[in-house]
Subunit: 347 residues, 4 copies
Amino acid sequence: MGKNKTELLSTEVRHLDIKKFDFVTLIDQMQDTAFQARNLARAAKIYEQMLTDQNCGVILCLAGSLVSAGLKKVILDLIDNNMVDAIVSTGANIVDQDFFEGLGFKHYQGSPHLDDTQLREMAIDRIYDTLIDEDQLRICDDTICQIADSLPPRAYSSREFISEMGKYLEKHGKNKDSIVLRAYQKSIPVFVPAFSDCSAGFGLVMHQVAKPDSHVSIDSVKDFRELTQLKIHAGDTGLLMIGGGVPKNFAQDVVVAAELLGAEVPMHKYAIQITVADERDGALSGSTLREACSWGKVSVVHEQMVFCEATIALPLIAGYAYGKGSWQSRQARSYSSLFTSKQRELA
Amino acid sequence: MGKNKTELLSTEVRHLDIKKFDFVTLIDQMQDTAFQARNLARAAKIYEQMLTDQNCGVILCLAGSLVSAGLKKVILDLIDNNMVDAIVSTGANIVDQDFFEGLGFKHYQGSPHLDDTQLREMAIDRIYDTLIDEDQLRICDDTICQIADSLPPRAYSSREFISEMGKYLEKHGKNKDSIVLRAYQKSIPVFVPAFSDCSAGFGLVMHQVAKPDSHVSIDSVKDFRELTQLKIHAGDTGLLMIGGGVPKNFAQDVVVAAELLGAEVPMHKYAIQITVADERDGALSGSTLREACSWGKVSVVHEQMVFCEATIALPLIAGYAYGKGSWQSRQARSYSSLFTSKQRELA
Amino acid sequence: MGKNKTELLSTEVRHLDIKKFDFVTLIDQMQDTAFQARNLARAAKIYEQMLTDQNCGVILCLAGSLVSAGLKKVILDLIDNNMVDAIVSTGANIVDQDFFEGLGFKHYQGSPHLDDTQLREMAIDRIYDTLIDEDQLRICDDTICQIADSLPPRAYSSREFISEMGKYLEKHGKNKDSIVLRAYQKSIPVFVPAFSDCSAGFGLVMHQVAKPDSHVSIDSVKDFRELTQLKIHAGDTGLLMIGGGVPKNFAQDVVVAAELLGAEVPMHKYAIQITVADERDGALSGSTLREACSWGKVSVVHEQMVFCEATIALPLIAGYAYGKGSWQSRQARSYSSLFTSKQRELA
Amino acid sequence: MGKNKTELLSTEVRHLDIKKFDFVTLIDQMQDTAFQARNLARAAKIYEQMLTDQNCGVILCLAGSLVSAGLKKVILDLIDNNMVDAIVSTGANIVDQDFFEGLGFKHYQGSPHLDDTQLREMAIDRIYDTLIDEDQLRICDDTICQIADSLPPRAYSSREFISEMGKYLEKHGKNKDSIVLRAYQKSIPVFVPAFSDCSAGFGLVMHQVAKPDSHVSIDSVKDFRELTQLKIHAGDTGLLMIGGGVPKNFAQDVVVAAELLGAEVPMHKYAIQITVADERDGALSGSTLREACSWGKVSVVHEQMVFCEATIALPLIAGYAYGKGSWQSRQARSYSSLFTSKQRELA
């Protein structure tokens, strides 16, 4: 490669801004074509329907490396403009990437053809064509440990802990463009059901090892309980899913969980998923939304899979919905408040 | 479809038995061909190397719907014959599918072309071409709830809870061919880092809602702590990964976690992954094992991706290693004992 | 389905117009993100480089069902604005879809979930989510037969025959938006190396069976000879490839063919490919452009694969190059004239 | 890389021998599992049905780099044991790979991670993880040119020319394990509808340029005519398709072509395809066999897609059919004789 660490980490990933284009005309035209362009247009229009449906809460599911890939501002625009009411994510997006950037760190443009053994020696971590300074990631781990150290020892949902991370960034953050921060400020709950499977896990392991007898623990059942409570409260819901994995499964499952608790809730009324996976391996990530209907999770009336990589598809879908402007008359749900005032009722 | 529930649920999925074939000759021949056959042969031989390496602990990672797809007996043969020392899995495999079968229930052969709305009305759940009786799945959820009800309220790792599930099956199970049961009996720890993201979540939510003040919680940090402890104890390790997702990430991450705790541990010395995902979307599931090297998780010396669906690839790889017979002189690690005797030392 | 043929064939596919949108800002922003958005931006910029390079002839390769999918106008804009100098395509795009539309027929929006047995009974042909009136396709076959009947019997290259199809449309066509027509009028040669593998094959088989002793034949060697001649004449060349298959292979191969004829020609200087295929099966369609370098066909300096379905990716790439406007000062190559005046020199 | 050409070309690809393994038990077990293992088993059984159906002619379609990947002996076993009656292929398999090996040359094991620029300098061509000596490939091109030089100048179908290649190998070949040779000897016609799109193209271009006024040409319409004639003669037919591309389309199309010529022929009664492509891009290679039914080409009663790379799937499917042994009572069709004796009747 012939480049040193400073040279390799010189070109930042910049976050795409959907507010600078007119995606409405483009999507309207794609609607009349075929294949994935038509699927993408159909998905964009279903998302727009979710936003115009006054009774519908919107749950955004995030899997894959979206924040490091330059999609953070897209997600921030959804948050800022009342286009999303709850978030279910992998830990990588929320902690390693978003909280990490909130601490003032950056992601850098690289190449999939770099020599990984040499990167290892330079303490540079690679995600496909994106590079991270591993030393900075260790600071992110440590910060999680510090936050845990500062909290009363008990079982937390990931949502509660992420809320604390938002509070931390409000005081100590160096970059206000953070999903964790902005969601905290707008009372949008963020769930990471596999919370220890990321930088948060490193920080919390250090915390628990240092405090063996009394420490913060993360109860993923509590997450499930809270998201179910949210579904019961919300009634009609729509899913905007980027990638599959745990967030997709978790968010779909709450319909069944609510039923088990005796609540009569509708299936997710709207559901769209952006993915490159397909159904052939029987795994959840590529399973069709029609299959989810057999499980009683998703209605088949307004569902659409879009087989396209997210860095291309999400800006177009989100940009269309932004451009249509119906978010302007949409109310913020502030679902986080559910878990302070009403938590005791259900729990 | 024109079939009723009994007709649709009439042909069982049966579990493939690798002990009935000579896969050694086949793999030896595939070794000299090309493309995925050669990759598969190379992976099989790396797995065999793990087993002959006396100092290497083998971690099996399971993602996707493997048990319902007829691969349970393959995994049981690995357990029974000291070919695997720890398991990291999605909840679906361990609870919804394996524990479910341990309770005496079955999976059924269906088709991806069935009408999901009609399946929903009959309470039949579909996974690609496989069918499940939803009423039986509710019994599985309830059983998890009962197990939780019977335990002292505190924070458990998923490993601890799954161990209790093994104990339950030993007493009340109706099918001895169970990964949960057999791993329990052989002291092989089973981790499910996103434990509430499956039938276990349903049972545990019911448990917690019924016992709001004092209940079992699942601390995923404790899982991470325990698996890290296992890595520190094991020294050299090899990963046999089916699919990607949380199990892949979680198992790879323990190398870094061990370093953060001050332990000097080697990267995973061997790593193979069976998947149909690819690297193009930057997501973890399809990320190359070389990329994992940049993160200091996996050595590039003995690594191999196999791009093939698991129902075809796993029997060939496992069957080859079984056929070679080096497991006959391999010692059981009984890693579960680490967490009873030595837990206090680290924790 | 419950719909009759008229109802099923009621909503036309409409062709997307790249001139209505500012793709330049979008691509410039995608350039600084990651994954396929960055690959797409890089490809768009390589295409723009081809157009600003005064010495570079641009060869467009078309595989997959692009015209029926609503991408015809994109391709027409490339033709009209001197953004492409030669075309190598599958027969489906040129005959079944473009010539078919030139005759006044349309493609219709459908769904991948329709019942194919019922479609068969109604004589409706399906391509994923697009529908075709089979009776109209038979008229297309017949027209090819009539054109063949009108020509002097001898061996033709596909280019020669397609040129005759352009002449036919000029006189008898009912829709001036046709690649075959417009390429004919602008002296842009169109090659279909597997010419009988489409509606043209049906028409020509009828022609030959009716005239067993003296008829038109299609010599694919002549195609290869002509495209090689074009490469020798053009010198520097760039490939804009949509999909893989025969067009990709054929266009790459001319570099080697030229060398075998004793001409010193450079490898293709620029090459981009839009595809969803990957390299794992060792097939040509997904083979990397770096692999093509080992064969001496493509330079690795300016090459980019974009892993995205073409209905989404092509408008963005073509729209960027259109928006940059360097085509305004670019000269038409009129390569078709090579084969009238200079043919004898080489042949 | 640090290796020279001799070192890089030192380990031969060896051809897998299906006769050494009991695939019947394996496939019977896969039949009761799920996902692609069950699809593969179903495909194997459909192929076996084709062979037991006394009235069914079997057409083998070959796309992708199968011969260089070590699958040649599998195909030879199908030929030798009356398990295939006609072949439709890409040129790469038949000329660059099989005829090439017939001349005594070999393919070598390499790696997808080699440096293509260095390979280019050493005149080594790469196909994923397989290497070819480019100097030997030039000899293959030249041999095609010599064969063309020796033939009376006229329009040939690819089948006729490939038959001449078989004759050549019978006299001058250095390796009797050749599809071209063995098919010639068994009167099994081999069609390559895009014949100039391979090493044959190079040789024939040299031939035509050297003999501008009177030369061999390859009429792909004649191929289509002949294959249609074969279909009319055969009546019931089954397709065993490896990969997609031109061979898949061409072989499917003959049903329609036969109808256009006034013959009443059944759709292909059986059809199986091994591929890693999927339907999402609307291209032919991954289009479902159900979609082909809407075109009137393939019956949906006995059809199966297998989503698996061919080096793994083909040995299992072919090995199962071989192991079942019904080929022992199957008659050779010797379809090549159709084109000598009966050609005039239709043409």
